[in-house]
């Protein structure tokens, strides 16, 4: 008991740090337009596969407190697009903060053209380098994250909403309702969903707008994923149904709906939160997988999945390591959510013991 106090205080700072990191990540993605120096779709055909821009503090004249960059220029003989670049040292481009650039909007309401940082044209500050069309990979990771993470969250909400409604009904009423609903979850869990989706895509119209594709994508991921949460919730409700406080309430004449709302639903929150934190990274991965196979949001709109799909080409994979940046973003996001799931899970366990 004595040595548990410092342990829990360490845990508390860890939890706070985790929440700050997650909040920061989402803030970064929501305000992608502000943090990204460039538009996600604007091409620079002079800079295909340009490596990440190096940020300098020192030049021939010594140290500068304001960082600066040099522009990339194709290096000498090998001028093909996959050839290497060298820094053109003839001109320095100092990095400015709070600059005007391409216009963007935040959450579709707040419009602006201010960016956190940037350099004067024709210099280009590309922190993660450029893709095959000279588009800034850093900006694309931020804008792509909007789609991928939002897809993960919306799909999770959908799966949990469907799963908990059906799980509660199955667990609370039991009998043939339970059997048929659980049969349905088994069917959904055993569905070879990737092939199923490939089939579904063939029947859809040729062109779908980004928004419609997004909702289709999240809808499909969410609806396919409700099976697992439904089973877990059903198990929990099944045991809650026979708890003394529920039986007592029923004895006092409580109606089904009151019982569900007052006694059963609150008990499932912990489980739902843990599930949510677990499902978000899984559904981000699902979006990445689907986009990787060309079933997601189409070019030129970025998502982590369709950005990674260019790495299907062997030559790109082995030549341009900076294009793995979206994979790094997926890993960071997934780890943060998984840690959050751990926190929820341990709280749930400590509550139940």
């Amino acid at each position: 008991m004595v040595d548990k106090i410092p342990d829990s205080s360490i845990r508390r700072t860890q939890v706070v740090l985790l929440i700050v990191a997650l909040a920061g990540l989402h803030f970064l993605l929501i305000c992608a337009g502000f943090f990204a120096p460039y538009d996600a779709t604007s091409q620079d055909r002079e800079l295909p596969y340009a490596p990440p821009t190096r940020i300098h503090f020192c030049d021939a004249s010594g140290f500068h407190s304001r960082p600066f960059i040099y522009a990339w220029t194709p290096s000498g003989a090998d001028t093909d697009s996959s050839g290497s670049y060298r820094e053109d040292r003839s001109h320095e481009y100092p990095v400015h903060f709070f600059v005007r650039g391409a216009s963007y909007d935040i959450l579709g309401v707040f419009e602006s053209s201010w960016h956190l940082f940037g350099v004067d044209a024709p210099g280009k500050l590309m922190l993660f380098g450029a893709d095959a069309f000279g588009r800034d990979e850093f900006s694309r990771v931020l804008f792509g994250g909007q789609i991928s993470v939002a897809a993960g969250i919306v799909a999770t909400l959908l799966a949990l909403a469907t799963g908990s409604v059906l799980g509660i009904i199955a667990g609370f009423y039991g009998g043939w309702i339970d059997e048929s609903l659980m049969g349905l979850t088994e069917l959904f869990l055993s569905l070879p969903w990737l092939y199923f989706l490939l089939g579904v895509r063939a029947f859809l119209p040729l062109h779908l707008s980004t928004l419609r594709t997004f909702f289709l994508l999240t809808g499909v991921i969410g609806l396919i994923g409700w099976g697992r949460p439904a089973r877990l919730i059903r198990g929990l409700v099944l045991s809650l149904r026979h708890r003394n406080f529920v039986l007592a309430a029923r004895g006092f004449g409580a109606a089904d709906f009151y019982l569900l709302r007052r006694h059963i639903l609150p008990e499932t929150f912990g489980l739902l939160l843990t599930q949510a934190a677990m499902l978000v990274p899984r559904y981000i991965a699902a979006e990445v997988t689907l986009s990787f196979f060309g079933l997601g949001v189409n070019e030129p709109v970025p998502s982590w999945g369709n950005m990674l799909s260019t790495l299907q080409q062997y030559s790109v994979l082995v030549s341009y390591s900076w294009l793995l940046a979206p994979a790094g973003a997926v890993v960071v996001t997934s780890v943060l959510y998984s840690l959050l799931a751990d926190v929820f899970h341990s709280r749930l366990k400590s509550q139940s013991t």
Partner: protein, 591 residues
């Protein structure tokens, strides 16, 4: 201990090299009219491994349609006349000479005497008559049949004597001898029975025994392992010898590994598991180029290929098709000025740089700089001009709304989808560039990547598409294989399939030009006609031509006589001449 073991192994290996030298094939037999290649030298022995992207579908030369099957079958079979891939000219093959009558309709071919099939059975005029009978049989439905039916009438073939055959064409046909390349001569003694019994379609399938298959090519079938490889061995009766009268081919074995994708081809090649890659993308080529210092492999950039990649608009007759949305877009596409504006807005230089990594060429017409014999050099190469394109659109009654979108005279925003094959990364890149170029005109183009078959189905069958990025050509430098693209009734007349008569005046003139060049025998007159045809195509833009990749090939340092060419098959056309350099050199290279 280990050192001694390794040393012993080396001694054993060395001994193996000395004693396992394969017996050289027998020289010319009495009465055998053998073909001598005075420039070819090499060394017997060894095997060459080629990585194929897919497994062949069949070994039957009459029915094969996929490129992998054809590449393998081509090594097993011989033709009457061959196109030398390097010079692009015809050369005598199984026919040692031919005569053309003054009216250009009668071809008399004299066959080589004493030639044997790979199973040792003799070859003569009966095999030729039998083979062409099969190719022209409607029931067999060979893809080559179309070539032998001119104006709806078949070519008449007759046997003059045991070694002379006569082909009578229904009308003069330019460069008709080129037709013989790719029409493999079949062994009558093996295939007549199944053909008469109506089982021809099942013969020479992949599961056929090596003893059932015989040809006149440099190799014969040794083994087929499903899903893994096909092994060909030397045909000891092949009818060509080198400079020192050594019977070709040099290689003991030619092995085709089924590796799956181009990337897998490259990886296997890098690992030294395969020796030749026929076609490389520019990215993979640069990758291998960077490693060249270490691997020493031979890499060849042969310049622009004969294929052309283009954007095509759906101008098909859609009446009765229930495709109202597509039909609504056709009003724009039918307007030549709209197509001109789009062509002017395309940044072809960027396509060459970003898609082909500078290893390609921009195209403004259907004949590219790779086809030196036929290209119309006088066609203008308009520089990209967004402003010029906007002016053309303005003059055609288009305008822009406040958000910069292009709107037509009926105030509809101009927006359409472009389909392309998702497996072709180069065309996907072209699409992304095109999308950006068109956005500069205020046109919203949506790129829709489709699985290759799904795309082909939309373009050729259902017509349910608005525009597509595709590629054609690459077979032969001659204009005749292009007939099916540019004549109204052609099977690849993509922008308007199934026409019975040309829809417009320029299409009518194009039809006439193409028909006329086909029956004109004189090269310069044909060139004039084809120049005019190219001009019509470039002016009327049924396709918006984009670019063509260079032919890029690679071979291991050990491969001798590696002479890749811009015509398909790019590297294996001279498989009979390829050899493996001496093992001493080879070992020196590896150590």
């Amino acid at each position: 201990m280990k050192v001694i073991a390794r040393l012993t192994l080396h001694v054993c290996l060395f001994a193996g090299f000395c004693f396992a030298a394969p017996p050289a094939p027998a020289g010319a037999r009495a009465g055998e009219e053998i073909a001598r290649l005075p420039d070819v030298e090499g060394r017997y022995g060894g095997h060459l491994t080629v990585g194929e992207r897919a497994e062949p579908k069949t070994l039957n030369p009459v029915l094969a349609t996929d490129s992998v099957s054809r590449e393998i079958i081509g090594r097993l079979m011989g033709d009457l006349v061959e196109i030398n891939r390097s010079s692009q000219l015809t050369e005598p093959a199984l026919a040692k000479s031919w005569k053309i009558s003054p009216d250009g309709r009668t071809f008399t071919l004299t066959l080589r005497k004493g030639v044997l099939f790979s199973d040792g059975q003799p070859f003569d005029a009966d095999d030729v008559i039998f083979s062409f009978g099969v190719y022209m049989d409607e029931a067999v439905d060979s893809p080559q049949r179309d070539l032998l039916i001119i104006d709806g009438k078949p070519i008449v073939i007759s046997k003059i004597d045991k070694y002379t055959v006569r082909f009578v064409l229904p009308r003069p046909y330019a460069a008709a001898e080129r037709l013989f390349d790719g029409l493999a001569i079949l062994p009558k003694h093996l295939l007549e029975k199944p053909y008469r019994a109506g089982h021809f379609a099942e013969s020479w399938a992949l599961n056929a025994q090596p003893s059932e298959i015989a040809g006149l090519g440099p190799f014969r079938l040794k083994q087929y392992v499903p899903g893994q490889r096909i092994v060909l061995e030397r045909n000891p009766y092949y009818w060509k010898v080198d400079r020192q009268n050594h019977r070709l081919p040099y290689l003991d074995e030619l092995v085709f590994l089924f590796v799956g994708t181009e990337d897998a081809q490259v990886m296997r090649f890098e690992a030294g598991e395969t020796d030749i890659i026929s076609r490389l993308s520019s990215e993979n080529y640069s990758l291998l180029l960077r490693e060249k210092g270490r691997s020493g492999s031979q890499l060849a950039d042969l310049g622009p290929s004969l294929e052309y990649n283009f954007l095509v608009f759906n101008l098909n007759d859609l009446s009765g098709k229930k495709l109202d949305e597509v039909a609504a877009t056709q009003a724009w596409f039918r307007d030549l000025r709209f197509r001109q504006a789009i062509s002017l807005a395309v940044d072809r230089d960027s396509i060459v740089r970003l898609v082909y990594g500078t290893r390609g060429a921009a195209l403004w017409g259907n004949v590219g700089p790779g086809n030196k014999l036929w290209i119309n050099q006088s066609l203008p190469h308009q520089a990209r001009s967004i402003e010029g394109a906007r002016q053309i659109l303005r003059s055609a009654g288009y305008s822009w709304n406040t958000s910069g979108q292009l709107i037509d005279a009926e105030r509809r925003t101009v927006e359409f989808s472009i389909i392309t094959s998702s497996s072709n990364s180069q065309r996907m890149k072209m699409a992304a560039l095109l999308e950006d170029d068109l956005s500069k005109l205020g046109i919203q183009a949506h790129i829709v990547p489709l699985e290759f078959r799904a795309m082909i189905d939309r373009v050729f069958q259902s017509f349910n598409y608005e525009a597509a990025i595709m590629g054609l050509g690459g077979g032969d430098a001659d204009p005749n294989p292009e007939m099916n693209v540019w004549t109204a009734t052609g099977t690849s007349h993509l922008w308007h399939l199934g026409e019975t008569t040309p829809a417009t005046d320029w299409e009518r003139e194009l039809d006439q030009l193409m028909q006329k060049q086909m029956v004109t025998l004189d090269y310069s007159k044909r060139k004039q006609l084809y120049d005019r045809a190219q001009q019509l195509i470039a002016e009327n833009l049924p396709f918006i031509f984009l670019g063509t990749p260079n032919i890029l090939s690679g071979a291991d340092a050990r491969v001798g006589n590696f002479h890749p060419a811009v015509l398909d098959p790019y590297t294996l056309w001279n498989a009979d001449e390829l050899y493996i350099r001496s093992s001493a050199q080879e070992n020196a290279g590896i150590r």
